[in-house]
Point group: C2
Chain length 434, copies 2
C-alpha cells in the first residue's frame, strides 16, 4: 500500500516523472524523507548538498552522511564547500542571507550546467505557517499571507502540504536516518520563537489547525487571484504604457472609491514604500514627485507618470562635423539643395556658414531661448514647452543642439530660423537624429 | 493640549458631533476611557450598562460604579438586569452567545425607542488582533483577517486604533477609575490564551507590532475592496438575476482559470460550506444539486441555478366554481363568447359542461400527460417540458389545473384541447391566473 506521501506525489506531481530532478538535501529529516520517497518512486534524481562550514565537524558530518547515503543508494551526488563567514563579511551580509545567496547561485549553476529540469526542496506546511507568522509579525499584505508556493518556476516543493510531525513520523516508521539540520533554518531566531512558543498554542486551541491553515491559504490564494483580476481590468482602463513610461490617468482612476488600493497594487512591484506620500501626490501640484530606489512617480497635470529614475545628464557633448560620435545620436552630412525635405522632425538643414563647429549637444536649461523657425521673434524654451503642453518628463528628455550656445535645434522638435538655409547659403548641412 | 485620543476623535469622528450617542459601558477600563473622552469633548452621550448577573456582588458592584459615575457627571444612564444563565439554558446557547444576544437586542431597542443615532463601543486594537488570531486559528478567508470595522451601520468604535496599553496608560494618567470587567470578554478562553501566550511573543519579535498590524489590516482591507470589485465585474457578466433565481452561466464563468474563487465569493453569503461538492457540481450532470441551510444550487445544463430551498408542495387543492380561494391564484368566472381573447397565456376559456367541479390544482408529477391545444394526439408533460427546454426549477414550479385528474391547463403555459370552447358550448368558463 502506498503511503499518503507517495499518493500525493503520484497524484499531484506526476509532471516530475521522467524529468531530471535535483534535490537540495541538507541531511535533515525533511530532505531525507524527500529523497527516500522520490528514490522509492523511481524518479530520476540527483542530490545537491551545501557544506556551509558554519559548524565545524558537525557540518562535515552532515556532508559525509548525505554522501554515503547517496553512494549506497546509487544516487548522483553534488557537493560544494562555502566559506560562508568570509562571504558574509566581504559582502556585509548576514549569515542567513549569505547562505541563501550562495546556495541558490550554486543550485542555478548546477541546473544549467547539468541540464536538470527542476530543483526540489523539502519545505513543508510548518515552514508555510512560520512564514505566514513571520510576515504577519513584521507587517504585510495579502501577498505575505498566501504561503510558500508549491512551485515557482523551476523550484518545486513536493512536501508542502505535510506537517513537520507527519514527516518525522514517516521517517521513524520507515527507518529513515537523518541529522538535525540546525544551520538549514533561515530567520532562525524568529522561526524558533514562533515554532516553540506560538504555533503550539494555536494547535492547542484548534487541534485541526494544520488542516484549517491549508484551507485558509487556499482561500487567501483565491482572493489574491481576484485582486489580480481587478488590478488587471482597471489597469487596462486607466494606464497608458508608452516609451518606458506608465501614465496613470487620475481623473479616471479616482472615480473608484478605493483608488489607493490600485495604486498600491501597481506601484508595489517598483519598490515604492512611502504610501502616504504617494496618496498625497494624487492631490499635489504638477511637478511633485516620489521616489523608490530605482523608480520615480511624477505628478503631471491629471496623471501620475512612472519612469525609471535617471540622473539628468548635465554634460555638454562636443559635436564635430567630421567624426561620428557614438555618444551622440546625430548624423551630420553635407547635402545639395535638391536633398532638402520637409515635414521630418528628426532632420534639419542648416547653413554651414552660420554654424561654428564643434557644436554643443546638451540638455535644456532654465533661461534657454530660441528663434523658432516659422514665427517672428524669440521664445523662451519654457514658454515653448508650455504652449506645446510638454510633460515634465518630455521636458527633461529634451536635448538641444547649439552653436556658440545659441540654440540651433530643439532636437526632434523645432529648428531655429537663425541657422536656416536661404538663397545665399553656400553649403547645406543636414543634421539627422539617428 | 489635546491628547492623541481627543485628536483622533475630533479629526476622524467629527460626524458624531451633535448626534445622540449611546455608549455601551461595562465599567472596564476601555469603556470608562471612552465615556470620559466623549464627555470631555462635550458629545451628546448617554450610557447603557448591562448587568448579566453572572458574578453576584461583583456584577452589582459594576452596575453601582457606572451608575454613580454617570450621576456625578450628569450623564443619562440606562441599566438592565439579565437572567443570563436561565436564558442560556432555555435557548440551549452558550453564556457568551446568550450575553451577546441579550445585550445587542436591548441596545437596538434603546436606539429605536430613545432615538439614538449611534451605539458606541470601546473595542480597541488588541481586540482586533485577537479577532484576527481567533479567525486564523480556526481557519478563515480574507474576510476574517480584516479586523473589526470602525463602523458598521449604527455601531461605531472610536478607540479601535489604540492598544489596550495606551488606553490603560491614559486612564492612569487622567485618574479615570475602572473595574476589571472579567465577564465582558467573549470567547474568553481563546482570547486569554492568545492575549497572554501568543501576542506577547509577537510584540517581543517586533516591538512595533501594533503599528505594523494596523498597516497590515489596511492593506488587507484594500485587497478586500479589490476582491469585491472583481466579484462585481464578473458577476455582471455571467450571472442573470431573475425571479428570485440567480443563473450562473458556466460556459462564460469557466473561461476564468480561477472560477472557483468567484463561486466561493458569490455563494458564501448564502451559507454554503461544502465547497468541494460545489466545485464538483460544475462538472456534474443536470439535476445534481448542493444545499446550504436555506438555499439550493442546482446544475441545469450549462448553468448553476441558485434558489431558496422550498419544500415541493404536494397538496391537491380543490377549486370551486363559486368561492374565491385565497390559497389558489386563480379567478373563475362565466363569460360570453364575445369576451374570448387570444394570446394571453395567463388566461384560458373552457366549456363548462366538460369540467367537473371542484377542479384540482396541484403540482406536476411524473407520468402526467395532456392533449395540447393546437396539435393532435397526447403528450407527456415530461416530453412537453423537454421540448420547451424548461429548466428543472421551471418544471418544479409548474402547476396543473385538472378535472377528474385530467389536465385542463398547464397553468400559465398551455391549455388542453379536450376542454376547449367549440360551437356546441353553452356556457363559457374563463379561468385567469391572478
Amino acid at each position: 500500500m502506498l503511503s499518503k506521501f507517495q499518493n500525493h506525489i503520484s497524484k499531484n506531481l506526476s509532471f516530475l516523472k521522467g524529468k531530471k530532478l535535483l534535490l537540495a538535501v541538507s541531511g535533515g529529516v525533511d530532505s531525507m524523507v524527500l529523497v527516500h520517497l522520490l528514490h522509492q518512486l523511481q524518479f530520476d534524481i540527483s542530490v545537491a548538498h551545501c557544506n556551509f562550514n558554519l559548524r565545524g565537524d558537525e557540518s562535515n558530518g552532515d556532508e559525509g552522511f548525505v554522501k554515503s547515503f547517496c553512494k549506497k543508494s546509487g544516487i548522483g551526488f553534488f557537493v560544494i564547500n562555502f566559506e560562508t563567514k568570509e562571504y558574509a563579511d566581504l559582502h556585509k551580509l548576514s549569515i542567513q542571507v549569505s547562505a541563501r545567496q550562495l546556495r541558490y547561485n550554486w543550485f542555478n549553476e548546477l541546473l544549467e550546467k547539468e541540464g536538470f529540469d527542476f530543483l526540489l526542496t523539502a519545505h513543508h506546511l510548518d515552514d508555510s505557517i512560520e512564514t505566514f507568522l513571520i510576515n504577519f509579525t513584521r507587517g504585510t499584505g495579502l501577498d505575505g499571507l498566501t504561503g510558500i508556493p508549491q512551485q515557482n518556476d523551476k523550484i518545486v516543493r513536493p512536501l508542502l502540504i505535510f506537517t513537520r510531525e507527519e514527516i518525522e513520523n514517516y521517517a521513524k516508521e520507515n527507518q529513515i536516518g537523518w541529522r538535525e539540520d540546525s544551520s538549514n533554518a533561515s530567520d532562525k531566531y524568529l522561526r524558533n520563537k514562533l515554532r516553540h512558543k506560538v504555533i503550539p498554542v494555536l494547535k492547542e486551541l484548534n487541534p485541526g489547525f494544520s488542516g484549517s491553515f491549508l484551507q485558509t491559504l487556499e482561500n487567501l490564494q483565491q482572493s489574491e487571484s481576484m485582486v489580480d483580476d481587478a488590478s488587471r481590468i482597471v489597469y487596462r482602463k486607466v494606464v497608458e504604457d508608452i516609451d518606458n513610461q506608465k501614465k496613470i490617468n487620475l481623473s479616471e482612476l479616482m472615480v473608484l472609491p478605493n483608488y489607493q488600493a490600485y495604486l498600491y497594487q501597481w506601484l508595489k512591484p517598483f519598490g515604492f514604500t512611502a504610501w502616504n506620500d504617494i496618496y498625497d501626490l494624487v492631490e499635489a501640484q504638477s511637478g511633485k514627485q516620489v521616489f523608490s530606489e530605482h523608480y520615480r512617480l511624477l505628478k503631471d497635470r491629471n496623471t501620475l507618470i512612472l519612469t525609471e529614475k535617471k540622473e539628468i545628464d548635465k554634460e555638454v557633448y562636443a559635436v564635430y562635423e567630421e567624426a561620428e560620435n557614438s555618444k551622440i545620436p546625430l548624423k551630420i552630412s553635407v547635402c545639395d539643395k535638391g536633398d532638402i525635405t520637409f515635414g521630418n522632425k528628426d532632420c534639419i538643414f542648416a547653413d554651414k556658414d552660420t554654424l561654428k563647429f564643434p557644436l554643443e549637444f546638451r540638455k535644456w536649461e532654465e533661461g534657454d531661448y530660441f528663434y523658432p523657425y516659422g514665427i517672428t521673434g524669440k521664445k523662451k524654451l519654457s514658454k515653448y514647452f508650455k504652449d506645446e503642453k510638454f510633460s515634465l518628463i518630455e521636458k527633461e528628455n529634451t536635448w538641444l543642439l547649439c552653436s556658440e550656445n545659441q540654440v540651433v535645434w530643439v532636437v526632434g522638435k523645432r529648428a531655429d530660423r537663425r541657422f536656416s538655409v536661404n538663397e545665399k547659403t553656400q553649403t547645406i548641412i543636414k543634421i539627422e537624429l539617428k
